[in-house]
Protein backbone atom coordinates (compact mmCIF):
# COMPACT_ATOMS: atom_id res chain seq x y z
CA UNK A 1 0.00 0.00 0.00
CA UNK A 2 2.93 2.36 0.69
CA UNK A 3 4.24 1.95 -2.88
CA UNK A 4 0.75 2.61 -4.26
CA UNK A 5 0.56 5.72 -2.08
CA UNK A 6 3.88 6.96 -3.42
CA UNK A 7 2.76 6.39 -7.01
CA UNK A 8 -0.63 8.02 -6.30
CA UNK A 9 0.91 11.14 -4.76
CA UNK A 10 3.78 11.65 -7.20
CA UNK A 11 1.92 10.84 -10.43
CA UNK A 12 -1.15 12.69 -9.16
CA UNK A 13 0.90 15.82 -8.62
CA UNK A 14 2.84 15.59 -11.90
CA UNK A 15 -0.19 14.75 -14.02
CA UNK A 16 -2.33 17.45 -12.45
CA UNK A 17 0.35 20.08 -13.11
CA UNK A 18 0.99 18.85 -16.65
CA UNK A 19 -2.67 18.57 -17.62
CA UNK A 20 -3.51 21.93 -16.09
CA UNK A 21 -0.69 23.64 -17.96
CA UNK A 22 -2.08 22.19 -21.19
CA UNK A 23 -5.61 23.25 -20.35
CA UNK A 24 -4.38 26.74 -19.50
CA UNK A 25 -2.81 26.97 -22.94
CA UNK A 26 -5.78 25.54 -24.79
CA UNK A 27 -8.82 27.03 -23.02
CA UNK A 28 -10.01 30.20 -24.77
CA UNK A 29 -10.74 32.09 -21.55
CA UNK A 30 -9.37 35.17 -19.79
CA UNK A 31 -6.36 34.63 -17.51
CA UNK A 32 -8.31 34.96 -14.26
CA UNK A 33 -10.86 32.35 -15.40
CA UNK A 34 -8.08 30.03 -16.56
CA UNK A 35 -6.30 30.31 -13.21
CA UNK A 36 -9.47 29.65 -11.22
CA UNK A 37 -10.56 26.69 -13.35
CA UNK A 38 -6.98 25.42 -13.20
CA UNK A 39 -6.85 25.61 -9.42
CA UNK A 40 -10.17 23.82 -8.97
CA UNK A 41 -9.55 21.13 -11.57
CA UNK A 42 -5.95 20.48 -10.55
CA UNK A 43 -6.91 19.00 -7.19
CA UNK A 44 -9.73 17.01 -8.78
CA UNK A 45 -7.26 15.55 -11.32
CA UNK A 46 -4.80 14.76 -8.54
CA UNK A 47 -7.47 12.83 -6.63
CA UNK A 48 -8.70 11.12 -9.82
CA UNK A 49 -5.15 9.85 -10.42
CA UNK A 50 -5.01 8.68 -6.79
CA UNK A 51 -8.26 6.77 -7.26
CA UNK A 52 -6.80 5.15 -10.38
CA UNK A 53 -3.53 4.20 -8.65
CA UNK A 54 -5.21 2.72 -5.60
CA UNK A 55 -7.71 0.81 -7.76
CA UNK A 56 -4.86 -0.97 -9.60
CA UNK A 57 -3.63 -4.33 -8.39
CA UNK A 58 -0.08 -3.10 -7.92
CA UNK A 59 1.96 0.10 -7.81
CA UNK A 60 3.82 -1.07 -10.92
CA UNK A 61 0.66 -1.33 -13.03
CA UNK A 62 -0.48 2.07 -11.74
CA UNK A 63 2.91 3.64 -12.50
CA UNK A 64 2.98 2.24 -16.05
CA UNK A 65 -0.52 3.58 -16.76
CA UNK A 66 0.29 7.00 -15.33
CA UNK A 67 3.64 7.21 -17.12
CA UNK A 68 1.95 6.68 -20.49
CA UNK A 69 -0.47 9.55 -19.88
CA UNK A 70 2.30 11.72 -18.44
CA UNK A 71 4.46 11.16 -21.52
CA UNK A 72 1.68 12.25 -23.87
CA UNK A 73 0.75 15.21 -21.70
CA UNK A 74 4.43 16.14 -21.22
CA UNK A 75 5.03 16.14 -24.97
CA UNK A 76 2.02 18.39 -25.42
CA UNK A 77 3.42 20.64 -22.66
CA UNK A 78 6.71 20.89 -24.49
CA UNK A 79 4.97 21.65 -27.79
CA UNK A 80 2.67 24.30 -26.31
CA UNK A 81 5.18 25.96 -23.99
CA UNK A 82 8.30 25.86 -26.14
CA UNK A 83 6.33 26.28 -29.35
CA UNK A 84 4.83 29.52 -28.08
Amino acid sequence: MWSKSLAACVFGLLLSISLMLNLNRLLPFAFDIQLFVGLLLAFCIWVAVMVYCYSCNSAKIASVGCTKVLLVSGLLNAYLLIGS
Binding site: A8, M20, A30, D32, Y54, S55
Partner: protein, 548 residues
Protein backbone atom coordinates in the same frame (compact mmCIF):
# COMPACT_ATOMS: atom_id res chain seq x y z
CA UNK B 1 -17.85 -31.54 -22.79
CA UNK B 2 -19.41 -30.74 -26.17
CA UNK B 3 -18.75 -27.61 -28.24
CA UNK B 4 -22.02 -25.95 -27.16
CA UNK B 5 -21.08 -26.29 -23.50
CA UNK B 6 -17.62 -24.81 -24.16
CA UNK B 7 -19.22 -21.88 -25.99
CA UNK B 8 -21.65 -21.29 -23.10
CA UNK B 9 -18.84 -21.32 -20.54
CA UNK B 10 -16.69 -18.96 -22.58
CA UNK B 11 -19.66 -16.56 -22.99
CA UNK B 12 -20.27 -16.66 -19.24
CA UNK B 13 -16.57 -16.00 -18.58
CA UNK B 14 -16.64 -13.02 -20.90
CA UNK B 15 -19.66 -11.65 -19.06
CA UNK B 16 -18.11 -12.33 -15.68
CA UNK B 17 -14.71 -10.87 -16.54
CA UNK B 18 -15.76 -7.20 -16.33
CA UNK B 19 -17.67 -7.95 -13.12
CA UNK B 20 -14.58 -9.58 -11.61
CA UNK B 21 -12.40 -6.64 -12.64
CA UNK B 22 -14.99 -4.25 -11.22
CA UNK B 23 -15.12 -6.21 -7.96
CA UNK B 24 -11.32 -6.18 -7.75
CA UNK B 25 -11.28 -2.42 -8.32
CA UNK B 26 -13.83 -1.92 -5.55
CA UNK B 27 -11.90 -4.30 -3.28
CA UNK B 28 -8.65 -2.37 -3.88
CA UNK B 29 -10.39 0.94 -3.27
CA UNK B 30 -12.04 -0.38 -0.10
CA UNK B 31 -8.65 -1.49 1.22
CA UNK B 32 -7.08 1.89 0.38
CA UNK B 33 -10.09 3.77 1.84
CA UNK B 34 -9.86 2.00 5.19
CA UNK B 35 -6.04 1.90 5.36
CA UNK B 36 -5.63 5.60 4.57
CA UNK B 37 -8.62 6.45 6.75
CA UNK B 38 -6.94 4.90 9.79
CA UNK B 39 -3.63 6.65 9.08
CA UNK B 40 -5.13 10.12 8.74
CA UNK B 41 -7.90 9.64 11.32
CA UNK B 42 -6.33 11.35 14.34
CA UNK B 43 -5.22 14.50 12.49
CA UNK B 44 -8.44 14.61 10.47
CA UNK B 45 -10.46 14.35 13.67
CA UNK B 46 -8.48 17.25 15.14
CA UNK B 47 -8.97 19.34 11.99
CA UNK B 48 -12.75 18.75 12.04
CA UNK B 49 -13.06 19.12 15.80
CA UNK B 50 -11.02 22.35 15.91
CA UNK B 51 -12.82 23.58 12.78
CA UNK B 52 -16.21 22.96 14.37
CA UNK B 53 -15.20 24.90 17.50
CA UNK B 54 -13.66 27.65 15.35
CA UNK B 55 -17.03 28.25 13.69
CA UNK B 56 -17.70 30.27 16.85
CA UNK B 57 -14.30 31.99 16.80
CA UNK B 58 -15.73 35.51 17.12
CA UNK B 59 -18.07 34.49 19.93
CA UNK B 60 -15.28 32.72 21.85
CA UNK B 61 -13.02 35.76 21.48
CA UNK B 62 -15.80 37.97 22.81
CA UNK B 63 -16.52 35.54 25.67
CA UNK B 64 -12.82 35.57 26.65
CA UNK B 65 -12.05 39.29 26.45
CA UNK B 66 -15.15 41.47 26.79
CA UNK B 67 -16.12 40.54 30.40
CA UNK B 68 -12.58 41.55 31.48
CA UNK B 69 -12.59 44.75 29.43
CA UNK B 70 -16.16 45.96 28.91
CA UNK B 71 -16.67 48.82 26.48
CA UNK B 72 -19.17 51.58 27.16
CA UNK B 73 -21.24 51.37 23.99
CA UNK B 74 -22.94 54.71 24.62
CA UNK B 75 -19.69 56.71 24.87
CA UNK B 76 -18.38 58.47 21.74
CA UNK B 77 -15.40 56.96 19.92
CA UNK B 78 -12.01 58.61 20.33
CA UNK B 79 -10.73 59.85 16.93
CA UNK B 80 -8.65 57.10 15.32
CA UNK B 81 -5.93 59.53 14.23
CA UNK B 82 -5.40 60.57 17.86
CA UNK B 83 -5.18 56.92 18.96
CA UNK B 84 -2.75 55.94 16.17
CA UNK B 85 -0.43 58.89 16.70
CA UNK B 86 -0.47 58.35 20.46
CA UNK B 87 0.50 54.68 20.03
CA UNK B 88 3.16 55.38 17.40
CA UNK B 89 4.77 57.86 19.81
CA UNK B 90 4.99 55.08 22.42
CA UNK B 91 6.83 52.60 20.18
CA UNK B 92 9.89 52.67 17.93
CA UNK B 93 7.78 52.33 14.76
CA UNK B 94 9.50 51.50 11.47
CA UNK B 95 7.69 53.81 9.02
CA UNK B 96 9.20 51.92 6.09
CA UNK B 97 7.09 48.93 7.10
CA UNK B 98 3.32 48.93 7.12
CA UNK B 99 0.95 49.61 9.99
CA UNK B 100 -2.34 47.69 10.20
CA UNK B 101 -5.42 48.75 12.12
CA UNK B 102 -8.31 46.29 12.43
CA UNK B 103 -11.63 47.97 13.07
CA UNK B 104 -13.87 47.06 16.04
CA UNK B 105 -16.65 44.61 15.16
CA UNK B 106 -19.95 43.80 16.79
CA UNK B 107 -18.26 40.75 18.38
CA UNK B 108 -14.87 42.18 19.25
CA UNK B 109 -15.30 45.85 20.12
CA UNK B 110 -11.64 46.88 20.17
CA UNK B 111 -9.14 48.25 17.68
CA UNK B 112 -6.32 45.84 16.97
CA UNK B 113 -3.14 47.51 15.81
CA UNK B 114 -0.01 45.78 14.48
CA UNK B 115 3.08 47.98 14.69
CA UNK B 116 6.34 46.92 13.02
CA UNK B 117 9.30 47.98 15.17
CA UNK B 118 12.61 49.26 13.81
CA UNK B 119 14.92 46.32 13.14
CA UNK B 120 18.31 45.99 14.74
CA UNK B 121 21.38 46.98 12.71
CA UNK B 122 22.54 44.15 10.51
CA UNK B 123 19.11 42.51 10.58
CA UNK B 124 17.37 44.90 8.15
CA UNK B 125 16.58 42.06 5.73
CA UNK B 126 14.87 39.94 8.38
CA UNK B 127 11.29 40.20 9.53
CA UNK B 128 11.35 42.47 12.55
CA UNK B 129 9.43 42.41 15.79
CA UNK B 130 5.75 43.33 15.61
CA UNK B 131 3.73 44.66 18.56
CA UNK B 132 0.08 43.63 18.58
CA UNK B 133 -2.02 46.12 20.51
CA UNK B 134 -5.62 45.76 21.64
CA UNK B 135 -7.12 49.20 22.20
CA UNK B 136 -10.35 50.45 23.75
CA UNK B 137 -11.94 52.61 20.98
CA UNK B 138 -13.72 54.85 23.48
CA UNK B 139 -10.79 55.76 25.71
CA UNK B 140 -7.77 54.95 23.53
CA UNK B 141 -6.40 52.92 26.42
CA UNK B 142 -4.14 49.97 25.50
CA UNK B 143 -5.74 46.86 26.92
CA UNK B 144 -2.83 44.63 26.02
CA UNK B 145 0.35 44.59 23.97
CA UNK B 146 0.67 40.83 24.16
CA UNK B 147 -2.70 39.21 23.48
CA UNK B 148 -3.55 37.37 26.73
CA UNK B 149 -6.61 35.69 25.18
CA UNK B 150 -5.10 33.09 22.88
CA UNK B 151 -7.55 30.21 23.21
CA UNK B 152 -9.65 30.96 20.11
CA UNK B 153 -6.56 31.70 18.01
CA UNK B 154 -4.87 28.52 19.21
CA UNK B 155 -7.85 26.30 18.32
CA UNK B 156 -8.13 28.05 14.94
CA UNK B 157 -4.44 27.46 14.36
CA UNK B 158 -4.87 23.76 15.22
CA UNK B 159 -7.53 23.63 12.53
CA UNK B 160 -5.35 24.85 9.68
CA UNK B 161 -1.72 24.18 10.67
CA UNK B 162 -1.82 22.10 13.86
CA UNK B 163 0.11 24.97 15.48
CA UNK B 164 3.26 23.38 14.03
CA UNK B 165 5.92 24.72 11.66
CA UNK B 166 5.03 23.41 8.20
CA UNK B 167 1.68 22.33 9.61
CA UNK B 168 -0.16 24.02 6.72
CA UNK B 169 1.31 21.44 4.33
CA UNK B 170 0.67 18.54 6.72
CA UNK B 171 -2.99 19.55 6.96
CA UNK B 172 -3.02 20.01 3.16
CA UNK B 173 -1.77 16.47 2.56
CA UNK B 174 -4.23 15.06 5.12
CA UNK B 175 -6.99 16.97 3.30
CA UNK B 176 -5.85 15.45 0.00
CA UNK B 177 -6.19 11.95 1.47
CA UNK B 178 -9.54 12.95 2.94
CA UNK B 179 -10.67 14.03 -0.53
CA UNK B 180 -9.54 10.64 -1.84
CA UNK B 181 -11.41 8.89 1.00
CA UNK B 182 -14.60 10.75 0.01
CA UNK B 183 -14.33 9.88 -3.69
CA UNK B 184 -13.33 6.27 -3.02
CA UNK B 185 -16.21 6.07 -0.52
CA UNK B 186 -18.59 7.14 -3.30
CA UNK B 187 -17.22 4.40 -5.59
CA UNK B 188 -17.47 1.77 -2.85
CA UNK B 189 -20.98 2.77 -1.83
CA UNK B 190 -22.27 3.89 -5.28
CA UNK B 191 -24.60 0.94 -5.88
CA UNK B 192 -26.39 1.40 -2.57
CA UNK B 193 -26.10 5.17 -2.28
CA UNK B 194 -29.74 5.86 -3.09
CA UNK B 195 -31.25 2.47 -2.24
CA UNK B 196 -29.83 2.51 1.28
CA UNK B 197 -29.92 6.26 1.71
CA UNK B 198 -31.75 6.15 5.04
CA UNK B 199 -30.81 2.62 6.01
CA UNK B 200 -29.98 2.24 9.66
CA UNK B 201 -30.25 -1.36 10.78
CA UNK B 202 -31.31 -1.69 14.39
CA UNK B 203 -30.52 -5.38 14.70
CA UNK B 204 -28.11 -6.58 17.31
CA UNK B 205 -25.10 -6.82 15.00
CA UNK B 206 -22.79 -4.04 16.08
CA UNK B 207 -20.93 -4.05 12.75
CA UNK B 208 -24.15 -3.44 10.75
CA UNK B 209 -25.08 -0.52 12.96
CA UNK B 210 -21.63 1.05 12.75
CA UNK B 211 -21.37 0.54 8.99
CA UNK B 212 -24.81 2.11 8.46
CA UNK B 213 -23.84 5.05 10.65
CA UNK B 214 -20.59 5.55 8.74
CA UNK B 215 -22.42 5.36 5.40
CA UNK B 216 -25.41 7.51 6.37
CA UNK B 217 -23.21 10.31 7.75
CA UNK B 218 -20.83 9.96 4.81
CA UNK B 219 -23.58 10.21 2.18
CA UNK B 220 -25.63 12.93 3.86
CA UNK B 221 -22.64 15.14 4.58
CA UNK B 222 -21.08 14.57 1.14
CA UNK B 223 -21.73 18.04 -0.36
CA UNK B 224 -20.49 19.61 2.87
CA UNK B 225 -17.37 17.45 3.13
CA UNK B 226 -16.53 17.81 -0.57
CA UNK B 227 -16.73 21.59 -0.21
CA UNK B 228 -14.42 21.42 2.84
CA UNK B 229 -11.97 19.11 1.10
CA UNK B 230 -11.65 21.28 -2.02
CA UNK B 231 -11.56 24.58 -0.13
CA UNK B 232 -9.09 23.18 2.41
CA UNK B 233 -6.81 22.02 -0.39
CA UNK B 234 -6.96 25.43 -2.04
CA UNK B 235 -6.09 27.18 1.24
CA UNK B 236 -3.22 24.85 2.16
CA UNK B 237 -1.73 23.46 -1.05
CA UNK B 238 -2.53 26.04 -3.75
CA UNK B 239 1.09 27.18 -3.47
CA UNK B 240 2.13 24.10 -5.51
CA UNK B 241 0.09 25.22 -8.52
CA UNK B 242 0.94 28.86 -7.93
CA UNK B 243 4.62 27.99 -8.29
CA UNK B 244 4.10 25.78 -11.36
CA UNK B 245 1.89 28.38 -13.06
CA UNK B 246 4.43 31.11 -12.27
CA UNK B 247 7.37 29.07 -13.58
CA UNK B 248 5.80 27.66 -16.73
CA UNK B 249 3.08 30.12 -17.74
CA UNK B 250 4.58 33.39 -16.46
CA UNK B 251 8.27 32.49 -16.97
CA UNK B 252 9.01 33.08 -13.29
CA UNK B 253 7.28 36.46 -13.07
CA UNK B 254 5.35 35.93 -9.83
CA UNK B 255 4.07 39.51 -9.71
CA UNK B 256 2.50 39.18 -13.19
CA UNK B 257 0.71 36.05 -11.99
CA UNK B 258 -0.55 37.81 -8.86
CA UNK B 259 -1.74 40.77 -10.95
CA UNK B 260 -3.78 38.43 -13.18
CA UNK B 261 -5.05 36.76 -10.02
CA UNK B 262 -6.39 40.13 -8.85
CA UNK B 263 -3.89 40.89 -6.10
CA UNK B 264 -2.46 44.39 -5.84
CA UNK B 265 0.53 45.45 -3.78
CA UNK B 266 1.99 48.81 -2.88
CA UNK B 267 5.74 48.70 -3.41
CA UNK B 268 6.78 52.38 -3.55
CA UNK B 269 9.56 53.45 -1.18
CA UNK B 270 9.71 56.46 1.16
CA UNK B 271 11.13 59.76 -0.16
CA UNK B 272 11.85 61.18 3.33
CA UNK B 273 9.56 64.21 2.91
CA UNK B 274 7.00 64.62 5.70
CA UNK B 275 3.30 64.21 4.97
CA UNK B 276 0.30 65.07 7.14
CA UNK B 277 -1.81 61.91 7.46
CA UNK B 278 -5.19 63.57 8.20
CA UNK B 279 -6.43 62.78 4.70
CA UNK B 280 -5.94 59.06 5.35
CA UNK B 281 -8.11 59.19 8.46
CA UNK B 282 -10.76 61.18 6.58
CA UNK B 283 -10.85 58.34 4.05
CA UNK B 284 -11.30 55.84 6.89
CA UNK B 285 -14.20 57.85 8.34
CA UNK B 286 -15.77 58.13 4.88
CA UNK B 287 -15.42 54.39 4.34
CA UNK B 288 -16.85 53.53 7.75
CA UNK B 289 -19.87 55.73 7.07
CA UNK B 290 -20.57 53.96 3.77
CA UNK B 291 -23.67 51.83 4.42
CA UNK B 292 -22.93 49.56 1.47
CA UNK B 293 -19.81 48.12 3.03
CA UNK B 294 -18.23 47.19 6.35
CA UNK B 295 -14.67 48.40 6.76
CA UNK B 296 -12.52 45.67 8.33
CA UNK B 297 -8.96 46.85 8.06
CA UNK B 298 -6.85 49.88 7.22
CA UNK B 299 -3.21 49.37 6.31
CA UNK B 300 -0.81 52.30 6.11
CA UNK B 301 2.29 52.20 3.92
CA UNK B 302 5.17 54.69 4.35
CA UNK B 303 3.29 56.34 7.24
CA UNK B 304 4.07 60.09 7.54
CA UNK B 305 5.99 60.19 4.25
CA UNK B 306 4.99 62.01 1.06
CA UNK B 307 4.79 58.61 -0.62
CA UNK B 308 2.33 57.34 1.98
CA UNK B 309 -0.58 55.16 0.88
CA UNK B 310 -3.51 53.60 2.65
CA UNK B 311 -5.25 50.35 1.80
CA UNK B 312 -8.86 50.04 2.95
CA UNK B 313 -10.23 46.53 3.01
CA UNK B 314 -13.91 45.89 3.65
CA UNK B 315 -16.76 43.57 2.83
CA UNK B 316 -19.54 44.53 0.45
CA UNK B 317 -22.88 44.38 2.30
CA UNK B 318 -24.95 44.08 -0.90
CA UNK B 319 -23.14 41.29 -2.75
CA UNK B 320 -22.37 37.73 -1.72
CA UNK B 321 -18.74 37.07 -0.74
CA UNK B 322 -17.54 40.34 -2.24
CA UNK B 323 -14.48 42.00 -0.79
CA UNK B 324 -13.62 45.63 -1.45
CA UNK B 325 -9.99 46.69 -1.55
CA UNK B 326 -8.88 50.20 -2.42
CA UNK B 327 -5.39 51.72 -2.34
CA UNK B 328 -5.32 55.53 -1.96
CA UNK B 329 -2.41 57.92 -2.22
CA UNK B 330 -2.55 59.93 1.01
CA UNK B 331 -1.07 63.17 -0.39
CA UNK B 332 -3.99 63.84 -2.76
CA UNK B 333 -6.54 61.13 -1.89
CA UNK B 334 -6.36 59.66 -5.40
CA UNK B 335 -7.14 56.00 -6.02
CA UNK B 336 -4.05 53.91 -6.88
CA UNK B 337 -5.90 50.65 -7.47
CA UNK B 338 -9.28 49.17 -6.68
CA UNK B 339 -10.89 45.74 -6.40
CA UNK B 340 -14.66 45.61 -5.97
CA UNK B 341 -17.80 44.33 -7.69
CA UNK B 342 -17.10 46.51 -10.71
CA UNK B 343 -13.42 45.51 -11.03
CA UNK B 344 -14.36 41.85 -11.28
CA UNK B 345 -11.71 39.15 -11.17
CA UNK B 346 -12.96 35.57 -11.44
CA UNK B 347 -10.12 34.01 -9.45
CA UNK B 348 -10.37 36.53 -6.65
CA UNK B 349 -14.15 36.29 -6.52
CA UNK B 350 -14.03 32.50 -6.74
CA UNK B 351 -11.60 32.27 -3.85
CA UNK B 352 -13.73 34.64 -1.77
CA UNK B 353 -16.82 32.52 -2.47
CA UNK B 354 -14.92 29.38 -1.46
CA UNK B 355 -13.66 31.03 1.74
CA UNK B 356 -17.16 32.26 2.59
CA UNK B 357 -18.62 28.79 2.08
CA UNK B 358 -15.81 27.25 4.15
CA UNK B 359 -16.30 29.57 7.13
CA UNK B 360 -20.10 29.59 6.90
CA UNK B 361 -20.19 33.30 7.71
CA UNK B 362 -22.64 34.31 4.99
CA UNK B 363 -25.74 33.79 7.11
CA UNK B 364 -26.81 33.82 10.73
CA UNK B 365 -25.68 31.72 13.64
CA UNK B 366 -28.23 29.04 12.70
CA UNK B 367 -26.13 28.14 9.67
CA UNK B 368 -23.02 27.86 11.78
CA UNK B 369 -24.89 25.60 14.24
CA UNK B 370 -25.79 23.38 11.26
CA UNK B 371 -22.14 23.40 10.16
CA UNK B 372 -21.14 22.49 13.73
CA UNK B 373 -23.53 19.52 13.84
CA UNK B 374 -22.25 18.29 10.48
CA UNK B 375 -18.64 18.78 11.62
CA UNK B 376 -19.21 16.74 14.78
CA UNK B 377 -21.03 14.09 12.71
CA UNK B 378 -17.91 13.81 10.53
CA UNK B 379 -15.81 13.42 13.71
CA UNK B 380 -18.12 10.54 14.71
CA UNK B 381 -17.82 9.08 11.20
CA UNK B 382 -14.01 9.10 11.51
CA UNK B 383 -14.10 7.23 14.83
CA UNK B 384 -16.65 4.71 13.52
CA UNK B 385 -14.46 4.16 10.45
CA UNK B 386 -11.57 3.26 12.73
CA UNK B 387 -13.72 0.90 14.81
CA UNK B 388 -14.85 -0.84 11.61
CA UNK B 389 -11.24 -1.25 10.51
CA UNK B 390 -10.28 -2.67 13.91
CA UNK B 391 -13.23 -5.10 14.00
CA UNK B 392 -12.37 -6.36 10.54
CA UNK B 393 -8.74 -6.94 11.46
CA UNK B 394 -9.77 -8.84 14.60
CA UNK B 395 -12.06 -11.06 12.48
CA UNK B 396 -9.35 -11.64 9.88
CA UNK B 397 -6.89 -12.64 12.63
CA UNK B 398 -3.96 -11.62 10.40
CA UNK B 399 -2.87 -8.69 12.53
CA UNK B 400 -0.94 -8.83 15.77
CA UNK B 401 -2.81 -7.97 18.95
CA UNK B 402 -0.19 -5.31 19.62
CA UNK B 403 -0.84 -3.37 16.42
CA UNK B 404 -4.62 -3.60 16.87
CA UNK B 405 -4.29 -2.42 20.45
CA UNK B 406 -2.00 0.41 19.34
CA UNK B 407 -4.47 1.73 16.73
CA UNK B 408 -7.34 1.41 19.19
CA UNK B 409 -5.50 3.23 21.98
CA UNK B 410 -4.30 5.93 19.63
CA UNK B 411 -7.83 6.52 18.30
CA UNK B 412 -9.38 6.60 21.77
CA UNK B 413 -6.56 8.58 23.37
CA UNK B 414 -6.16 11.30 20.78
CA UNK B 415 -9.81 11.78 19.78
CA UNK B 416 -11.11 11.94 23.34
CA UNK B 417 -7.97 13.84 24.37
CA UNK B 418 -8.74 16.66 21.91
CA UNK B 419 -12.20 17.09 23.45
CA UNK B 420 -11.06 17.11 27.10
CA UNK B 421 -8.08 19.34 26.29
CA UNK B 422 -10.40 21.88 24.62
CA UNK B 423 -12.53 21.96 27.80
CA UNK B 424 -9.39 22.46 29.91
CA UNK B 425 -8.22 25.29 27.62
CA UNK B 426 -11.62 26.98 27.97
CA UNK B 427 -11.44 26.77 31.76
CA UNK B 428 -7.83 28.03 31.75
CA UNK B 429 -8.82 30.91 29.47
CA UNK B 430 -11.43 31.93 32.00
CA UNK B 431 -9.70 31.46 35.35
CA UNK B 432 -6.03 32.30 34.72
CA UNK B 433 -5.24 35.76 36.14
CA UNK B 434 -4.62 38.50 33.57
CA UNK B 435 -1.45 39.47 35.43
CA UNK B 436 0.10 36.06 34.72
CA UNK B 437 3.14 36.54 32.49
CA UNK B 438 2.69 34.63 29.22
CA UNK B 439 -0.96 33.93 30.05
CA UNK B 440 -1.79 32.99 26.46
CA UNK B 441 1.02 30.43 26.40
CA UNK B 442 -0.20 28.85 29.64
CA UNK B 443 -3.56 28.12 28.02
CA UNK B 444 -1.70 26.27 25.26
CA UNK B 445 0.49 24.40 27.79
CA UNK B 446 -2.65 23.29 29.64
CA UNK B 447 -4.12 21.99 26.38
CA UNK B 448 -0.98 20.08 25.37
CA UNK B 449 -0.45 18.65 28.87
CA UNK B 450 -3.98 17.26 29.12
CA UNK B 451 -3.92 15.93 25.57
CA UNK B 452 -0.63 14.13 26.26
CA UNK B 453 -1.91 12.74 29.56
CA UNK B 454 -5.10 11.34 28.01
CA UNK B 455 -3.32 10.00 24.93
CA UNK B 456 -0.69 8.18 27.02
CA UNK B 457 -3.14 6.84 29.60
CA UNK B 458 -5.28 5.37 26.79
CA UNK B 459 -2.52 2.80 26.21
CA UNK B 460 -3.17 1.28 29.64
CA UNK B 461 -6.95 1.23 29.47
CA UNK B 462 -8.78 -2.13 29.58
CA UNK B 463 -12.32 -0.94 28.85
CA UNK B 464 -12.35 1.79 26.23
CA UNK B 465 -16.08 2.53 26.45
CA UNK B 466 -15.87 3.14 30.17
CA UNK B 467 -12.73 5.24 29.63
CA UNK B 468 -14.47 7.43 27.03
CA UNK B 469 -17.55 7.74 29.25
CA UNK B 470 -15.42 8.88 32.20
CA UNK B 471 -13.56 11.37 29.99
CA UNK B 472 -16.88 12.76 28.78
CA UNK B 473 -17.99 13.15 32.39
CA UNK B 474 -14.73 14.99 33.15
CA UNK B 475 -15.37 17.22 30.11
CA UNK B 476 -18.88 17.98 31.38
CA UNK B 477 -17.46 18.84 34.83
CA UNK B 478 -14.88 21.18 33.25
CA UNK B 479 -17.49 22.86 31.07
CA UNK B 480 -19.84 23.38 34.01
CA UNK B 481 -16.94 24.69 36.09
CA UNK B 482 -16.18 27.21 33.32
CA UNK B 483 -19.77 28.47 33.38
CA UNK B 484 -19.72 28.68 37.19
CA UNK B 485 -16.39 30.57 37.00
CA UNK B 486 -17.98 33.01 34.53
CA UNK B 487 -20.72 33.94 36.96
CA UNK B 488 -18.43 33.81 40.01
CA UNK B 489 -15.96 36.24 38.41
CA UNK B 490 -18.31 38.59 36.57
CA UNK B 491 -21.75 38.08 38.15
CA UNK B 492 -24.54 40.23 36.83
CA UNK B 493 -22.23 42.24 34.58
CA UNK B 494 -22.72 39.36 32.11
CA UNK B 495 -26.38 40.37 31.91
CA UNK B 496 -25.36 43.98 31.25
CA UNK B 497 -23.15 42.74 28.42
CA UNK B 498 -26.14 40.87 26.98
CA UNK B 499 -28.21 44.06 27.14
CA UNK B 500 -25.40 46.01 25.46
CA UNK B 501 -25.50 43.60 22.53
CA UNK B 502 -22.51 41.41 23.45
CA UNK B 503 -24.56 38.24 23.27
CA UNK B 504 -21.61 36.01 22.46
CA UNK B 505 -20.68 35.75 26.15
CA UNK B 506 -23.91 34.16 27.35
CA UNK B 507 -24.27 32.55 23.90
CA UNK B 508 -21.05 30.58 24.45
CA UNK B 509 -22.33 29.52 27.87
CA UNK B 510 -25.59 28.26 26.34
CA UNK B 511 -23.60 26.36 23.72
CA UNK B 512 -21.39 24.84 26.42
CA UNK B 513 -24.45 23.85 28.45
CA UNK B 514 -26.01 22.09 25.45
CA UNK B 515 -22.71 20.37 24.74
CA UNK B 516 -22.54 19.24 28.38
CA UNK B 517 -26.07 17.77 28.24
CA UNK B 518 -25.32 15.81 25.04
CA UNK B 519 -21.95 14.62 26.39
CA UNK B 520 -23.57 13.45 29.63
CA UNK B 521 -26.21 11.54 27.67
CA UNK B 522 -23.56 9.80 25.54
CA UNK B 523 -21.54 8.99 28.68
CA UNK B 524 -24.62 7.41 30.29
CA UNK B 525 -25.28 5.35 27.16
CA UNK B 526 -21.70 4.08 27.15
CA UNK B 527 -21.78 3.24 30.86
CA UNK B 528 -25.04 1.30 30.47
CA UNK B 529 -23.50 -1.06 27.93
CA UNK B 530 -22.51 -4.35 29.57
CA UNK B 531 -18.86 -5.41 29.60
CA UNK B 532 -18.48 -8.48 27.43
CA UNK B 533 -15.75 -10.53 29.08
CA UNK B 534 -15.22 -12.61 25.94
CA UNK B 535 -14.46 -9.53 23.89
CA UNK B 536 -12.43 -7.69 26.49
CA UNK B 537 -10.22 -5.40 24.56
CA UNK B 538 -6.50 -5.77 24.39
CA UNK B 539 -4.58 -2.69 25.36
CA UNK B 540 -1.55 -1.60 23.41
CA UNK B 541 0.52 -1.80 26.58
CA UNK B 542 -0.34 -5.45 27.31
CA UNK B 543 1.97 -7.11 24.77
CA UNK B 544 4.76 -4.80 25.87
CA UNK B 545 4.13 -5.66 29.52
CA UNK B 546 3.96 -9.36 28.63
CA UNK B 547 7.32 -9.07 26.92
CA UNK B 548 8.74 -7.48 30.03
Amino acid sequence: MNSNEVELISNDSEKEAPTLVKNKVIKNLTEAHSWLGVIISAVLFLVFWAGSVTLFYEEIKQWAAVPHYPVNVNAPDMPLQQIVEQKLAEYDFDAKEHLSVFMPTEHYPYYRMNIDLVREKGKEDQHGEVVNLIINPKTGETISDNNPFKMADFIYSLHYDLNLPGGTYIVGVITLFFFFALISGVFIHAKKMFKNFFQYRTNKRKRDKLLDMHNVVGVMSLPFTLMFAISGLIFNLAIIYQISFAVFLYKGDQSALLKDAGYDFFTEKTVDIKQDMTKAFDLIVQSRNDENQTLNRATFYNYGDQNAAIELRGSDNDNFAQRNEVFYRVSDGSVISKMDIEQYNTLRKGLDVIATLHFGNFAGIDLRILYFILGIAVCAMIIVGNILWLDKRILQRNFSKGSIGFVRSLTVGLCSGFVVATAVALLAERILPLSLIGRGAWVIYAYVAVLSLVAISAFWVINNKRFIARLLQVTVALVLLTIVADWWLFGTSLLTLWQDGFRGVIGVEIGLLLFAVVSLWIAQLLLKQPINEKNRQVTAAQPMLMNV
